[in-house]
């Protein structure tokens, strides 16, 4: 079966992007100037990168029982959201393992939008539909009709502002607003996966190409999955399949801050409480290499001459000038400050470092 294409596929090919299969889609991993330049556009002081992340899923949840339903299936406290507010959250299974990490948008008391990972979309929708049956709530998968762009970097607002009919400056961090871009309705949310100021823009497919080209014309630099992975790893943000999976609970993943045990019952709550009481089976830590080398997924983490864990994500950080990694280690080893990462036949010394590895510049 061939890969699916986002509405911007031909644009990426025309720009000379190297396309790779990702989560069932043909996606740009980088454009001809290379991932480091794209990274630089996002981290720079007067530029911004533009990502096509239309492969991600969007699920609408509506109805008088939408809030109660979402409280049951998500970990974060949905009742804390006001209209126009977003929260990072997760779907857990009965064992407290991750089904997915998501963001929850409240449009109105009875209308919400969930943004989910591309690789988990079908699984998430099936899970949501199954559990929605107990509530006065309808679940609609809108992914195929929705284009999602991420405009990230110091120049994001200046680039976007003339193209929309509202004022993006009025949108606070983890807030969103309905606006129009290129003559089409859109949702502009001040969120992202890079640690820079920026926006994620949800728009109908029919406006995708016009909006993409308009943003590039205003100076946004097209950026692909390779740069995206460098940026999120530098921030210590989890990626499903790496830091989070069905095999870990929020206790291990350090995501108890989005797991509101006091909000009432939710799927996985009992399991999380048990795990919290027993202590995590492993602990997610950040590591910075003290000598040259690049840590990568799967490399062993060593301490006291033994393997105590494994790297889940790792990159060379251009800003830090060294390798940085996220890794799961045993709870005993998690007490230490000094480790080594096995890279081929070398044990590269690494120190414990709490992410983010670079300074966050999201709006406060």
């Amino acid at each position: 079966m061939s890969e699916k294409k986002t509405p911007l596929h031909a644009e990426h090919v025309a720009l000379g992007a190297r396309m790779v299969p990702f989560a069932g889609y043909s996606m740009p991993v980088q454009y001809p100037d290379g991932a480091l330049k794209e990274y630089g556009a996002v981290r720079g002081d007067a530029s911004a990168g533009l990502f096509d992340i239309s492969h991600m899923g969007q699920v609408r949840v509506e109805g008088a029982g939408a809030l109660d339903f979402l409280q049951t299936v998500t970990t974060n406290d949905v009742a804390r959201l006001a209209d126009g507010q977003v929260q990072y959250s997760a779907l857990l299974d009965e064992d407290g393992g991750f089904i997915d990490d998501i963001t929850t948008y409240r449009l109105a008391a009875d209308a919400y939008l969930l943004c989910v990972n591309a690789a988990n979309r079908e699984k998430d929708v099936a899970h949501l539909e199954r559990h929605a049956q107990r509530f006065d709530a309808r679940v609609t998968d809108e992914s195929d009709d929705t284009t999602l762009l991420a405009l990230q970097g110091a120049a994001a607002q200046a680039i976007l502002a003339p193209l929309v009919d509202g004022d993006p400056d009025t949108i606070g961090y983890y807030r969103f607003a309905g606006m129009r871009i290129c003559d089409a309705p859109c949702v502009v949310s001040r969120t992202g996966y890079t640690g820079e100021d920026g926006f994620e823009i949800y728009l109908p497919n029919k406006a995708a190409i016009t909006a993409w080209r308009a943003l590039l014309e205003r100076g946004a630099q097209p950026a692909g999955l390779a740069a995206r992975d460098m940026l999120r790893t530098e921030m210590g943000y989890a990626l499903y399949g790496h830091e989070i999976s069905a095999e870990v609970t929020p206790v291990e993943a350090g995501l108890m801050w989005i797991t509101k045990l006091d909000k009432g019952d939710f799927i996985g709550r009992e399991a999380v409480l048990r795990r919290k009481a027993q202590g995590p089976r492993r602990v997610l830590i950040g590591l910075e290499l003290r000598e040259r080398g690049i840590p990568r997924e799967g490399y062993p983490v060593l301490a006291g001459g033994e393997t105590v864990g494994r790297v889940t994500s790792g990159v060379h950080s251009p800003l830090r000038g060294c390798g940085v990694a996220l890794a799961y280690v045993s709870p005993e080893a998690a007490e230490r400050e000094d480790f080594a990462i096995g890279v081929r036949n070398r044990a590269i010394p690494a120190r414990r470092a709490r992410p983010p590895f670079v300074r966050s510049r999201t709006r406060r």
Binding site: R18, V29, Q30, G34, A35, L36, K37, A226, M230, R292, G293, I294, R296, V315, H316, P318, R344
Partner: protein
């Protein structure tokens, strides 16, 4: 896509310049382009003996780790230390400043292609 006429090439996308029994080795323009931005190069110790076709260095890009194979057998007599601070030289000047090692040849080599044969190989 540059393929200088005065060099020889391998099917693993290394180039070699042989002068007076010493081979200078690097990776080709095709290889550096396929790898993307190179962020780390691991070179062997001077003095190490390598056999033809043996993996002797590693070139790492943002997304990938790639072994480099010795086109010729012999002793590593010099490595390009400038790549430690400037790994991107392999991208910007793969046949010049991006050279990896120099080998005093023992006489054995892998199959070496001339420029025309390498160009044909790339088209396959």
């Amino acid at each position: 896509m540059t393929i200088p006429a005065d060099l020889q090439y391998t099917k693993e996308h290394e180039w070699v310049r042989i002068e007076d029994g010493v081979a200078t080795v690097g990776i080709t323009d095709h290889a550096q382009e396929a790898l993307g931005d190179i962020v780390f190069v691991e070179l062997p110790e001077v003095g190490r003996e390598v056999g033809p076709g043996e993996a002797f260095a590693v070139v790492e890009s943002v997304k990938a780790v790639s072994d480099v194979y010795a086109p010729v057998g012999g002793e590593i007599i010099e490595v390009n230390e400038a790549l430690e601070a400037g790994p991107e030289k392999v991208n910007t000047d793969p046949y010049g400043e991006g050279w990896l090692v120099k080998v005093r040849m023992s006489g054995e080599t892998v199959e070496l292609l001339d420029e025309a044969a390498y160009a044909t190989f790339l088209e396959e």
